[in-house]
């Protein structure tokens, strides 16, 4: 069986330039990621800002070429695919529906643009598809002639989802699709995405900084730190027994509405991850509350067991 997404040892660096235009340092945004995602599954990717999760999304969408390694979608390399073909296969939904929709186009034209650029349907067929998709995401017919400025944040994100799905792609990359929304609306959008996946048999790559949100939608979760997957496991296993100290810290930082608990001390200290200066040894060791002296020099191997991956010396010994 071909995987919906297969990423093999992908690296992506950016050159950071000084004001004079000289190359100052290299940012290792994605630093050797390997994974495969079976069709119909949802991979949630979590990590702090700057961990490389959005860069990874752009590599998979074919919006950026990798520095090395390859990303295959539906068994094929995006580099060898033409844009129209790619658009029929994989589509993005971005974080900010205020920035991702053209404010001067009507909703029906925004949703219809992917169809128009494919150029294989009559106007009539296009309209039918647009209306069908808008109904599916819960946007009423009379809203089709409005402009994004006349819609709420939740409605805009529904429009962005309709645009992503109008070509019936098989894979959708959602990059923080609910982060700009209010909690009550976030829940609506998460439920909508879950329903659509079931009804249309979609595969999602779902990026978020919030572990609690990911648990709701993902079938498997990868935790990313400074450009690498430090833990990757089926959702239930990861939440029941987080193995990497970083995953444990992320989980401890989720503030649930339980009054007596107070604010947890996640024990990460003051060191801040810097992708231009990745520490030797385990990249997480300067912040790790459980670091051993070996962690400063030894790069942890990928440990795979029980269908999960952990990159930590401690996990190797247990």
């Amino acid at each position: 069986m071909t995987h919906a997404i297969e990423v093999r040892n992908v690296y992506r660096e950016f050159q950071q330039r000084s004001a004079a235009g000289r190359v100052r340092s290299a940012v290792h945004a994605v630093d050797g990621v390997t994974f495969s995602l079976a069709a119909g599954n949802v991979l949630g990717i979590v990590g702090e800002s700057g961990c490389g999760k959005s860069t990874l999304a752009r590599l998979i969408l074919g919006l950026l070429p990798p520095s090395s390694g390859e990303a295959l979608v539906d068994g094929r390399s995006l580099a060898h695919m033409d844009r129209r073909e790619r658009a029929r296969l994989i589509q993005p939904v971005f974080q900010d529906p205020f920035a991702s929709l053209n404010p001067r186009q009507r909703v029906r034209d925004i949703v219809g643009l992917p169809l128009a650029s494919q150029g294989d349907l009559t106007k009539r067929q296009q309209t039918d598809r647009i209306m069908e998709m808008l109904a599916r995401v819960g946007i009423s017919t009379e809203m089709a002639d409005r402009f994004p400025g006349q819609l709420s944040g939740g409605q805009r994100q529904r429009v962005a989802i309709a645009r992503a799905l109008v070509l019936h792609p098989r894979i959708v990359v959602c990059d923080e699709p609910t982060s700009a929304l209010d909690v009550s609306v976030q829940a609506q959008i998460l439920n909508l995405l879950s329903d659509l996946r079931r009804e249309l048999g979609l595969t999602y790559l779902f990026i978020s900084h919030n572990l609690a949100v990911v648990e709701h939608i993902a079938t498997e979760v990868a935790v990313m730190y400074l450009g690498r997957f430090v833990e990757h496991a089926p959702t239930q296993d990861l939440f029941r027994r987080p193995m990497h100290p970083y995953t444990q810290a992320l989980l401890a930082s989720v503030l649930t509405p339980e009054p007596a608990l107070g604010i947890p001390d996640v024990g990460l200290g003051d060191a801040y991850p810097d992708p231009t200066d990745i520490p030797l040894g385990c990249r997480f060791h300067p912040r790790c509350p459980k670091a051993l002296s070996e962690c400063r020099t030894l790069v942890p191997d990928n440990i795979r067991k029980d269908g999960r991956l952990v990159e930590c010396l401690l996990a190797a010994s247990t």
């Binding site: 702090e48 998460l190 609690a212 939440f239 930082s253 509405p257 339980e258 009054p259 001390d265």
Partner: protein, 325 residues
């Protein structure tokens, strides 16, 4: 204990909308009071009204806004400027937008003390270094000479907290202080706020959209919706027995790790926040409420659920959602 800050029946209107519709709250020394609600519910506008920092198009009225026995409504702009950043300090969501990128950390921090206390630059910088150390910033001397862009988001927010503390305020208003930060850094900043508040006996008015933060930080909470406080009370009480349909709905929407059953939808509230124009009457939540009735279009009074717990809804405190819709 007498309240440090007390607001009664605050109303703020803009030319085309009513942003705050009769908000009352009191804040005591050493207490954390959370104002929670979604975007556009009027929580930030309420806070800015206390500081008299509203945009020019806004009209503010209230029965009173008092800091101890001083009526802030009667104060001149000059007097307010003296109080602001001194006895009442405020920090905002995104520290980068409240800092001047062209000045060093040290000069921006020192300015507060120079203006309010006529301190010398030397004294002011010493105090700044002392406070940076207190908020957990290492090598404060070096930081003072740096510019805001050289600091990470978490460090910038700590620096904002330190700046707010320069004049030993009695009231600290924090408007979404951790929303722009990563979750791991959020915990650190909140722990710091809690610690400083206890050490200094600060009255903290914490504005947030996150009920998780409310639960972990507040003694008292006011839930806002469409310009009104729809429910208020001790935090344990509100979380254990939320009464207003909005509060119940909001608590249901929050994903809690480990509580998810595969395939089960998350609780959500249909629709979105309404636009409240001139002359709007009745409950602002009625369009999204599963229990709405005709009488919800009339003004709703505050009901007492006992133990300092109040809510603004026609329903009895122990109402249940009818299983058959």
């Amino acid at each position: 204990m007498a309240p440090v800050l007390s607001i009664a029946n605050l109303r703020v209107s803009f030319p085309r909308m009513e942003a705050v519709r009769g908000v009352s709250l009191t804040l005591r020394g050493g207490e954390t009071h959370c104002l929670v609600g979604e975007s556009g519910c009027g929580k930030s506008i309420s806070a800015l009204s206390v500081m008299n920092l509203l945009p020019r198009s806004a009209v503010r009225s209230a029965d009173h806004i008092r800091f101890h026995e001083h009526d802030l409504l009667a104060m001149s702009e000059r007097q307010m400027a003296w109080l602001r950043g001194d006895k009442i300090a405020m920090i905002f969501q995104e520290p980068m937008t409240s800092l001047n990128p062209a000045y060093t950390i040290g000069s921006q921090m020192a300015e507060v003390l120079e203006r309010h206390r006529r301190a010398s630059r030397r004294q002011a910088l010493d105090r700044a270094a002392e406070l940076l150390a207190r908020v957990g910033i290492t090598a404060p001397g070096m930081r003072l000479a740096q510019y805001p862009h050289q600091l990470s988001g978490g460090l910038r927010q700590r620096m904002m907290i330190a700046t707010a503390l320069m004049c030993d305020p009695e009231v600290l208003i924090a408007d979404e202080p951790t929303t722009a930060l990563d979750v791991t850094v959020q915990s650190q900043v909140l722990r710091l706020l809690r610690k400083l508040q206890q050490e200094m006996g600060l009255a903290l008015l914490l504005i947030t959209h996150d009920f998780g933060i409310v639960a972990r930080m507040a003694e008292h909470v006011s839930v806002m919706y469409a310009g009104e406080v729809v429910e208020s009370g001790p935090v344990e009480q509100i979380i254990k027995a939320p009464t207003h349909p909005y509060t119940r709905g909001l608590l249901n929407c929050i994903p809690v790790p480990g509580m998810t059953k595969p395939g089960e939808p998350l609780g959500s509230i249909p629709g979105g926040v309404p636009h409240i124009g001139r002359g709007f009457l009745g409950c602002g939540f009625r369009e999204r409420c599963p229990m709405a009735a005709r009488e919800c279009a009339e003004p709703v009074h505050l009901h007492d659920a006992g133990e300092d717990h109040f809510y603004r809804c026609r329903l009895p405190p122990d109402w249940k959602l009818d299983a058959s819709p």
